[in-house]
Symmetry: C2
Subunit: 413 residues, 2 copies
């Protein structure tokens, strides 16, 4: 099928979804969860084909780990869907409104975005997660996953499509592009009028290509070069706990700390103790000239300040003031998550106001930037640089738009 | 100056704006209003240069009318700015938040978008309107107006820049691209990292070009192919008033009706009377085969159903049911403003739910889709097709994003 055919089918499905009730969408989600369990063997067998090809093609172990499905990973997808069944319906919410002086009654009501295109890499669980989030929020979805996961994705998508149909919704609520080529991704990016929003999910290269080439509106999920600034007035023990957590609790994710900024007054007391804490992982430290003698490691290069390591590596810099920390963050940050550790009221307020990022923390780890932690429920990605529509974790509510419903009794202008 | 230089200057100004208070921004707006009055003669003289060139180049009368400035139009720009001084500050509003189970206090707070790029045609009043809306909402703006208005735009921008500086804000809060070429517009569209949002304002061709070519996120202000559907159960007098108002009160704007759909049961009673009402303007009617004998006019072609006339022309079609009306709107509408006239509760509800448009009306003219009429204040455009970020009239609140400010006391994950 061409992208145009997929798009027209998705539009038709999206109209059915917009007219469906929350109960119908929940019934379809429940059927999807059941079908995943019932068809687990088929899905694992399909994944085995992808894994064999990956091994033959010399895919790296970490990528193979992302590609692999196991009974517990299928169960994880199933549980994720069941959590969405329990989540509140994001549609039909009255977001605002009132009566105008002429008597017009205006209601601003949440509605689906319409048709969402997802472009992602070789992680088959995204197929189930994204399809379920889109269905819950009343959106038809066209999935374009990585070609390395094509057998797994087809098995999962077929399973979900059958479940949607069994619950009385169109199977085309969920469509997978069978041809995982560069051209199919590009066609999706130019399908204005058929696709309402494109969400790329994956590495920086994928995101950048979609932002550069897409004429369809994009929700740019993002890179995280996150900083923790340990102020002169920081509580030492708290600053140690927060930095260790921000770097080491899950270094591969976008809300992990990549650069530590330390005020020069506290650096001699702080950095040696931090280095000791981080040595046990071990974390490689890349330090500016002032911090190097205090914590050891290797000298940082200019590239280090802009690097998203996603690994047990940390760049370290000593600053003379809060202002220098703010300037460094403005220059090298990606507007994702930034933290100040301080006991000083004015420093905390200044940091909160001045830092331009989706999430700005006082005295807490940047690792909390997450849909679940923010109380938004499951997320489809985290937006950093982009300012339109939504910032930070994208939850169900961010997969909606709104329309104005206006009740008149003959008003003219 | 290159777009990169303009962009860097705008980023620097946007940081100053983000740190400014509402009182400072209002003082700058007041200074701008004063400066427009004080420099009226210079602005009119600059406009005279543009008007002379326009006449020499054979610009059409309607475009010349849009280009022309008069003392009363300058006064209109001044009044628009003073209204913004009186408008509530859209920044720093707490949009949501709460305490998480771990004690983290999360606040979602409105912040500026950052740097806005405006691409527009030969309407010099947009220069002042857009600059003032952006300043009030804490955004730096880069203006790229049509080359036909370049002298007028330079005079207005210089005036506003001086006023901003006199009030202690950077002059670069407002920048005008001196080179109104195709290349400068294109450079603006590719300035990711420097420009946060691009807002095109003008004809369908301009909007489409920006949507197609821009890698910077776009707020797609839009075409309006707006329908009024007169249901079988409509009040005849009300349906006459609404249709006349929707077509004739200001036919050149995007919320004017372009196509009238009439239920076959009411058409024989309704259409002859409507034709009589519209004859006095006069409105040219382009009719399907069934309506032609009832109201006269000329036969409609397929192109008419998709046409945004922006003129005293109306296409007319008789439908057999509400469903046929909904299908026609789904096929030819632009998701802008759609109206049903009916006394039937079920028909009204079905129309409100099924129509996918920014504004859906029961028993009121589509002409109300307007920032002022919706209580949003001055608008920078109206979004129709696009679903991301904001739909319908774009007011001050839609020129903002948000960030999460998170208050912790040592939380780690």
């Amino acid at each position: 099928m061409t992208i145009t055919e997929l798009g027209l089918a998705a539009q038709s499905a999206s109209r059915a979804l917009a007219a469906s009730t929350g109960a119908q969408r929940n019934a379809a989600l429940s059927a999807m969860a059941e079908a995943l369990a019932a068809q687990e063997q088929d899905i694992l067998a399909a994944n085995e084909l992808d894994m064999q090809a990956a091994a033959q093609n010399g895919m790296s172990q970490s990528l193979q780990d992302r590609l692999a499905l196991t009974p517990s990973r299928v169960e994880g997808m199933r549980q994720g869907i069941l959590e969405l069944v329990a989540a509140p319906d994001p549609l039909g919410l009255v977001l605002g409104g009132g009566v105008r002086p002429n008597g017009l009654r205006i209601q601003q009501v949440s509605v689906p975005l319409g048709v969402i295109g997802m472009i992602y890499e070789a992680r088959p669980n995204v197929t189930a997660d994204a399809a379920a989030l889109c269905l819950k929020s009343g959106n038809a979805v066209i999935l374009r996953g990585g070609k390395e996961a094509i057998h797994s994705n087809k098995a999962i998508a077929d399973c979900l499509r059958g479940a949607a149909a069994s619950a009385g919704l169109p199977a085309d609520c969920v469509q997978l592009i069978g041809d995982a080529s560069r051209e199919s991704a590009r066609a999706l990016m130019r399908a204005n009028g058929l696709i309402d929003v494109l969400i790329p999910r994956g590495g920086a290269g994928l995101i950048r290509a979609v932002v550069e080439e897409s004429s369809v509106p994009v929700l740019e999920t993002g890179e995280g070069v996150c900083h923790t600034y340990v102020d002169a007035a920081a509580d030492l023990a708290m600053a140690l706990d927060i930095a260790e957590n921000a770097k080491c609790s899950r270094p591969s994710v976008c809300n992990a700390m990549e650069t530590l900024l330390v005020h020069e007054k506290i650096a001699p007391a702080y950095l040696p103790r931090l280095a000791e804490r981080l040595a046990k992982y071990p974390v490689e430290l890349r330090c500016d000239a002032a911090s190097l003698p205090l914590c050891g490691g290797v000298p940082a290069t200019e590239d280090d300040w802009a690097a998203e390591y996603d690994d047990l590596i940390l760049s370290v810099k000593i600053v003379a003031s809060l202002e220098e920390a703010l300037a460094h963050i403005a220059r090298y940050g990606t507007k994702h998550s930034e933290c100040v550790v301080t006991g000083d009221y004015a420093a905390a307020q200044a940091f909160l106001q001045a830092v331009d990022a989706a999430a700005v923390y006082v005295n807490a780890s940047t690792r909390f930037t997450d849909g679940g932690e923010f109380g938004l429920g499951a997320e489809i990605g985290i937006v950093a640089r982009q300012k339109l529509h939504a910032r930070g974790p994208l939850g169900l509510r961010h997969l909606t738009s709104y329309k104005y419903m206006i009740y008149g009794d003959g008003q003219v202008r």
